[in-house]
């Protein structure tokens, strides 16, 4: 077992994030609804060749020279820093390849994403929000929200103060993530922006932010802009739970701080701000969890601390000269966390019920199920042997049903499913990726083997989301249905 932030662990995590995205792009173009269209054939062949080329170059340039130090954990900081820089360059190339998905016809399968968003809004009890549309986009970017703005912009540029009719909320999901529920949490961020825009949150932020006279207009502007982004982050975390922090952190393992993703708000600032609102998950740690997950790669089992440490170490190594968002707060008030304290009260006033964090017992039970390949749609009740004996002795069906009582599975919330899913990814998937990477002759071979694990994990989470949603729907109306 290595230290969690050992360079070899860090590089494995970073390569796994990139490998997953490359595999997801391949899985998307292999979707029957996309692949079966004759007009897509040429582009699919070209895209797959481009991905293959990326994989081969990554193998030759990054992995092959470091195979041995990766194996024995002797990777040095400097070599790791160089490798991370290469990985980030390949991540940008992946983003460019992703843009070509715009030319493919066929929609890909994202029906479960609708269920995801409905479940998210139902659980947050946010009746004031419209049911969103979800569009699959070619930009690998989660931060453009509310597509109406895209349509309004050119009309406004013509000088017509045009207003498009209200038609609800349209969310954008990158095509490569259409099958990956772990990154759908980022849709919660877009919903967060909608709430900021439509429920006067932005107005309250402007009124309450500590804008000091004497500072530069640029920094005041940044303060406002950052505050709106951080408010959307807080709302997303309220909606989706700690999984939102983890999905944002996963982007930090792949893309430079202040890189092309998002609106230029330093990722370190965003993660630091979110982390202040998350209690540590140490209660979930323990030998039982280690045995269940068969974890060897990391010493810590607290997914939040693990992700935080990986990202900050990644940024320290890959961009030592760039501001992390926390270091230069004296010169720039926009990167001082305490300047955003007013957001807590503003967000707390919004009608968004905070996502529940599972108890340690529930978390362990769900995690064990996920490791056994069983969907984590619910928590199962337990009967005692004595109850079974009494049931066997029941003289009439009425007595039997009376003894049976109201035994029900408890459907899991999205926050439960996603936190367990993310923890599974951090603890198990990274480790499986590492084993495959080191045992396979090439990265291509490792990715081919890893694709099976990736598909299973995604299918398991999708099934869990769908089934728990149906359970919640059934429970909502069960009483009425039985009385009818």
């Amino acid at each position: 077992m290595f230290q969690d932030t050992a360079p070899s662990c860090l590089l494995v995590a970073s390569l796994c994030e990139l490998g997953e995205r490359l595999s997801q792009l391949e899985l998307f173009v292999a979707e029957p609804s996309v692949r079966a269209r004759a007009e897509n054939e040429g582009l699919i062949v070209a895209l797959l060749a481009a991905v293959d080329h990326l994989v081969q170059r990554l193998d030759r340039q990054v992995i092959a020279p470091l195979r041995k130090p990766l194996q024995d954990g002797s990777l040095e900081d400097q070599a790791c820093a160089q490798a991370l820089e290469e990985v980030q360059r390949f991540a940008l190339a992946f983003q460019k390849a992703h843009q070509n998905l715009a030319f493919l016809t066929g929609h890909g399968s994202h029906a479960v994403t609708y269920t995801f968003v409905h479940k998210l809004l139902n659980e947050a009890r946010t009746k004031a929000l419209p049911a969103p549309d979800i569009c699959l986009g070619n930009e690998y970017d989660f931060f453009r929200h509310d597509l109406r703005k895209t349509l309004v912009a050119p009309l406004e540029a013509l000088g017509t103060a045009s207003r498009l009719p209200e038609w609800g909320l349209s969310l954008l999901l990158p095509k490569a993530e259409a099958g990956n529920p772990l990154m759908w949490t980022m849709l919660a961020h877009q919903i967060g922006h909608y709430i900021v825009d439509h429920f006067k949150v932005a107005h309250h932020i402007r009124a309450d932010l500590p804008i000091r006279t004497g500072t530069s207009p640029q920094s005041d502007d940044a303060l406002l802009r950052y505050a709106e982004e951080l408010a959307a982050d807080l709302l997303a975390q309220r909606l989706a739970g700690p999984a939102y922090f983890l999905s944002l952190a996963s982007l930090g393992l792949l893309f430079r701080p202040g890189g092309p993703l998002g609106l230029g708000v330093p990722l370190g600032l965003r993660l630091g701000h979110l982390r202040r609102h998350l209690k540590p998950l140490e209660a979930l740690d323990g030998q039982g969890l280690r045995r269940t997950a068969n974890v060897e790669l990391f010493s810590s089992l607290d997914a939040l601390s693990l992700a935080e440490r990986l990202v900050s170490e990644c940024h320290r190594l890959s961009a030592p000269s760039e501001p992390s968002g926390l270091s230069s707060s004296e010169q720039d008030p926009s990167v001082a966390l305490e300047n955003y304290d007013c957001l807590d009260a503003i967000i707390a006033r919004q009608r968004v019920a905070p996502a529940a964090i599972p108890s340690p017992e529930d978390f362990h039970a769900l995690f064990a199920r996920m490791c056994s390949g069983i969907p984590i749609n619910s928590l199962c009740p337990t009967l005692s042997r004595e109850t079974i004996k009494r049931l066997e002795g029941a003289a009439t069906p009425t007595e039997f049903y009376h003894l049976l009582g109201d035994i029900r599975e408890r459907p899991t919330t999205l926050a439960h499913i996603l936190l367990v899913g993310w923890t599974y990814k951090l603890l198990r998937s990274y480790q499986i990726f590492r084993e495959l990477l080191l045992s396979a002759a090439t990265l291509r071979e490792a990715l081919a083997a890893y694709a099976g694990h990736l598909r299973n994990r995604q299918a398991l989470l999708q099934k869990s989301i769908e089934t728990s949603f149906i359970q919640q729907t059934y429970n909502r109306w069960r009483g009425e249905a039985h009385g009818a």
Binding site: P32, A36, N377, S378, C380, L383, L404, N456, S468, I470
Partner: protein
């Protein structure tokens, strides 16, 4: 011996080696020796296409590419219907994920209410082997004269469980030839992966008949499709 209601409960909720999840409504679903199961959200239908038939003598990868031309998958929301028209056939799967332990087998049957409405839930494969894990695939067919709207969560079938004495040494997952374990959605047939096809293929090649078969396929594919556009493949 078939398990009665308390034996089913014991295996599900005390011993927990039998897994059927979710059980949305235990009193509704539990019978004297059965447990009702529900329709899931995924359907795998067949559509008409220029493909005349599936040639099992081709390589499995080629057949799978052909299948893309006539299979179409639907994922429904809980309030959406898949309308099964008279005579039509579609694959679907249970909402429930099922794990059958090594000392049990299970049998899938339709529920009487749906049988009376003309819905068949399986064509021939109602047996669930010990050691099976996954969602169980329904082979749904409407044998009535009226279209049947099918929604996720409807209780269309029931499982009964049988003890098979000592645990099997060949649970389904471990069986060398098992093809459908662990799936979470309806799974189309992969009959062409049965080893018998490879034997026939090799024997054909040995007899020089494979070339004849290829020529026949080419000739058939060159013919204009018999079916007009929009005509259902199953009517």
């Amino acid at each position: 011996m078939v398990l009665n209601e308390t034996a089913i409960l014991y295996r599900l909720l005390v011993k927990k080696d039998l897994v059927v999840t979710p059980i949305l409504d235990l009193p509704q679903q539990l019978g004297s020796s059965t447990l009702d199961v529900r329709l899931g959200t995924r359907f795998l239908a067949q559509k008409s296409s220029s493909l005349i038939y599936l040639d099992p003598l081709r390589q499995a990868e080629q057949i799978e590419a052909d299948k893309l031309q006539y299979e179409v998958e639907y994922t429904l929301q809980s309030t959406q219907a898949y309308v099964l028209h008279p005579g039509e056939f579609v694959l679907a799967s249970t909402l429930e994920y099922v794990v059958i332990p090594a000392d049990l087998t299970a049998r899938l049957d339709g529920r009487s209410s749906w049988g009376r409405a003309g819905l068949e839930v399986h064509a021939t494969a109602g047996f669930v082997a010990s050691g099976f894990e996954g969602t169980i695939t329904f082979e749904l067919k409407n044998v009535s004269r009226m279209p049947i709207p099918l929604y996720p969560m409807l209780r269309v079938a029931q499982l009964s469980f049988y003890e098979i004495g000592p645990d099997t040494r060949l649970p389904y997952r471990a069986k060398a030839s098992s093809k459908y374990a662990g799936y979470l959605a309806p799974t189309g047939s992969t009959f062409y992966r049965d080893p018998e096809w490879e034997i026939i293929r090799r024997e054909l090649v040995a007899q020089g008949g494979h070339q004849r078969s290829e020529r026949l396929s080419a000739a058939l594919e060159a013919r204009p499709a018999d079916r007009g556009p929009g005509k259902s493949p199953t009517t």
